[in-house]
């Protein structure tokens, strides 16, 4: 979705759904009233025009339905993957926290403190930024501060060497997951995909205008189709940005971890 429309994610989910459906139905109805009378003469004099229109519409809907279905699945997978990355990052952070808890003092305390600081930043500052579609940058500073401090530690015993190696391995895993989360902040369908979907929706509606039937039947049958198109669009919009909107990935995994860190 073009970035100009990001305000749409500030609308609560239920209202966004109603808005999407309402826009599609309104477009259909208004065009039915004002445009259809001018289109109808083109098909009016054609024998079996409704059948032809119906045949074209059903062919078109197969391709368009496939497109919408695939796009919806892709959007869902993006959200699901981003959610998994968040969970993996929190799990790696938790494991790292456990590892550094075994370090001798004062290293252990300082390292734990830096991880807590990182977690707090993610919850308090990074998440609200992600929800606005902004990639948070200050978490990198905190991760680097932890990395620097971890590298300051020089193991004195074989046990500490093993622990240190494990902590470094876990750190790399954590950094990888973190990077994945940041990548997914901006992940969304490309603008061209949106244009194709919107054009498809318009053509679906336009084909319906060409049917020859009573006004009320046209309003109701076409309205139902438009409403469902609106529902599909809402679904894709809602899942398009993993961290935006009411239904998005939350910082719950980090919040649970932070609460546990503070209990100790």
């Amino acid at each position: 979705m073009p970035t100009d429309f990001f305000w749409i994610y500030d609308i609560p989910t239920a209202r966004l759904a109603l808005l999407s459906i309402g826009v599609f139905v309104a477009v259909y109805w208004l065009a039915l009233i004002f445009i259809r009378p001018f289109l109808r003469p083109f098909v009016k004099n054609t024998r079996g025009a409704n059948a032809i229109d119906g045949y074209i519409l059903s062919c078109f809907c197969v391709f368009y339905g496939l497109l919408l279905g695939l796009v919806a699945v892709t959007a869902y997978q993006t959200v699901s993957e981003a959610g998994s990355n968040v969970t993996r990052e929190a799990a790696a952070l938790s494991a790292l926290y456990e590892d550094v808890s075994r370090y001798p003092e004062p290293y252990g305390q300082n390292l734990r403190w830096l991880l807590r600081d990182y977690t707090r930043y993610v919850i308090k500052y990074a998440w609200p930024l992600q929800q606005r579609g902004i990639i948070p940058v200050e978490g990198t500073i905190r991760a680097e501060a932890f990395h620097d401090r971890l590298l300051d530690f020089e193991p004195q015993t074989p046990a500490q060497e093993i622990l240190h190696a494990e902590a470094l391995r876990q750190l790399n895993h954590f950094l990888e997951c973190r990077r994945m989360r940041l990548f997914s902040v901006k992940s969304s369908l490309p603008a061209s995909m949106w244009y194709v979907m919107l054009l498809g929706a318009f053509l679906t509606i336009a084909l319906c205008w060409l049917f020859d039937m009573t006004f009320v039947a046209h309003l109701s049958l076409g309205g139902i189709l438009a409403a469902y198109l609106g529902t599909m669009m809402y679904l894709i919009i809602d899942m398009n940005q993993p961290f935006r909107g009411d239904v998005s990935i939350t910082a719950e995994a980090f919040e649970g971890l932070y609460a546990r860190m503070n209990e100790e």
């Binding site: 305000w7 009233i33 001018f38 109808r40 600081d117 707090r120 200050e138 680097e144 620097d148 503070n262």
Partner: protein
């Protein structure tokens, strides 16, 4: 075909303006009649966003000064979060921006420029005087205030800086008085050890001038680069000088190396007490307690200060940042500076720098965790207590000395800078003869 021949079905299919308008009118009428039921109370429901004001926090989070500056960042973040929780300032939410200058003066300039170009209302930050002096010209160029929280050497005054840390006349000189007096053990040979940059050199320059007025001389003087870790030779030099105490102006994680070297040389506080100006509770987190117990630190605030305001303040910070977190001198100053700025903005009714500065100069005082803090309009510094603490095994301090009252700031002590004065209510700095600090060393 004539009009009379047209069948009803054919007539029904004809495009007719009258039919279009009739259908449109019917639809609009239906919509209008249903509208109250459908749309009353409905809106897009987008929550209104409070206006935000960006605020720059310029503290090193990596590099040699990170050991000290990170906690100062946290305390100022805490202060900003508290302000936001209370409704912000003038109805605006503060938006902290905290890039990392990595303890490098050149990066301080780059980051400060980015923040100032980004439109921050004020800058809070810098630890070393080198970084402060690097950032101040930018603040003057952009006409923004820098709120500096750390003890510094004086010999400087900028109308675009609010100095929140202790000056030598509020920290170093009272500490020398204490060391030379009976409570400090009647010391006679004070060794001046510092990191090699502006603050230690200037503070020690003033200290030497002051010692001369007390008929004393330093046992020796030594400076090592900022970030230096190997103090073994320095410790031998101190021992060789016959010093009976050390006034330590070493900054950052170099202190780890200093106390390690003292421990390696089996020099404890009973044999050679070290009085540090830049070691607070936060720096003690990284030091082994057995290496530092019994040594001293001087500042205007210690966490162990037993007052209700201090206990409440510490609890608030720990609730947010963790129960094992500690507070220290610079953190207390950092907190007070944010509160001072808030009070000034509210008094001025604006975030404009000149209006805020006028409000400050008009007289503002706040109750800080370490006591009442008053802004000195003449010097743009704060009144500060001088406290000396002895390090305990739990990485806290027993306060062994406290000045009777808060000490007024003097950035140009006449013993060191004769003829120099500063009064921003009467035109600014009065210059005296040039003083060469390096030449004295």
């Amino acid at each position: 075909m004539t009009r009379a021949d047209a069948s009803p079905a054919r007539r029904r299919g004809r495009v007719s303006r009258r039919r279009v308008l009739a259908q449109a009118a019917a639809t609009l009428a239906a919509a209008r009649s249903l509208a109250p039921a459908l749309f009353v109370g409905c809106s897009l429901g987008i929550p209104p966003r409070a206006r935000t004001v960006p605020v720059g926090l310029l503290h090193s989070q990596t590099g040699t000064m990170a050991i000290s500056a990170t906690s100062l960042r946290d305390m100022q973040l805490h202060a900003i979060e508290r302000i936001n929780a209370g409704g912000g300032i003038l109805g605006c939410r503060l938006e902290p921006q905290a890039p990392d200058p990595r303890s490098r003066p050149a990066l301080f300039v780059t980051r400060a420029r980015q923040l100032l170009e980004g439109g921050v209302a004020a800058l809070f930050g810098c630890w070393t005087s080198t970084s402060r002096k690097a950032v101040l010209p930018l603040c003057e160029e952009f006409q923004k205030l820098l709120f500096y929280a750390v003890q510094y050497e004086g010999n400087e005054s900028s109308p675009y800086c609010v100095y929140g840390g202790s000056l030598p006349n509020q920290q170093v000189l009272p500490t020398i008085d204490w060391l030379l007096g009976p409570d400090g053990g009647l010391k006679k040979k004070i060794f001046l050890l510092g990191s090699d940059y502006i603050y230690p050199r200037t503070a020690n320059f003033i200290a030497k001038k002051y010692l001369a007025t007390r008929d004393a001389r330093p046992a020796g003087e030594l400076y090592l680069p900022l970030g230096h870790r190997d103090f073994s030779v320095a410790v031998q030099q101190i021992l060789f000088s016959g010093a009976d105490c050390v006034l330590n102006t070493v900054n950052g994680d170099s202190n780890l190396g200093l106390f390690q070297a003292l421990a390696d040389a089996k020099v404890d506080a009973a044999k050679l007490p070290v009085v540090s100006t830049s070691v607070a509770e936060d720096e003690l987190r990284s030091l082994q307690p057995e290496r530092v117990v019994g040594h001293f630190a001087t500042g205007s605030y210690f966490q162990s200060l037993d007052t209700a305001a201090n206990r409440e303040w510490i609890a608030g910070f720990r609730d947010e940042f963790g129960r094992d977190r500690v507070t220290g001198d610079a953190m207390e100053s950092g907190w007070c500076l944010v509160q001072l700025w808030k009070a000034a903005v509210e008094k001025a009714g604006s975030f404009d720098t000149l209006a805020v500065r006028e409000a400050l100069r008009d007289g503002i005082e706040i109750a800080g965790p370490g006591g009442l803090v008053r802004f000195d309009a003449a010097t743009q510094n704060l009144t500060k207590y001088c406290r000396i603490g002895r390090i305990r095994s739990d990485r806290q301090f027993d306060i062994v000395h406290q000045s009777e009252a808060a000490i007024a700031p003097d950035p140009y002590p006449q013993i060191a800078f004769p003829g120099w004065h500063c009064d921003w209510t009467k035109g600014g700095i009065t210059r005296g003869p040039e003083v060469s600090i390096d030449g004295d060393i």
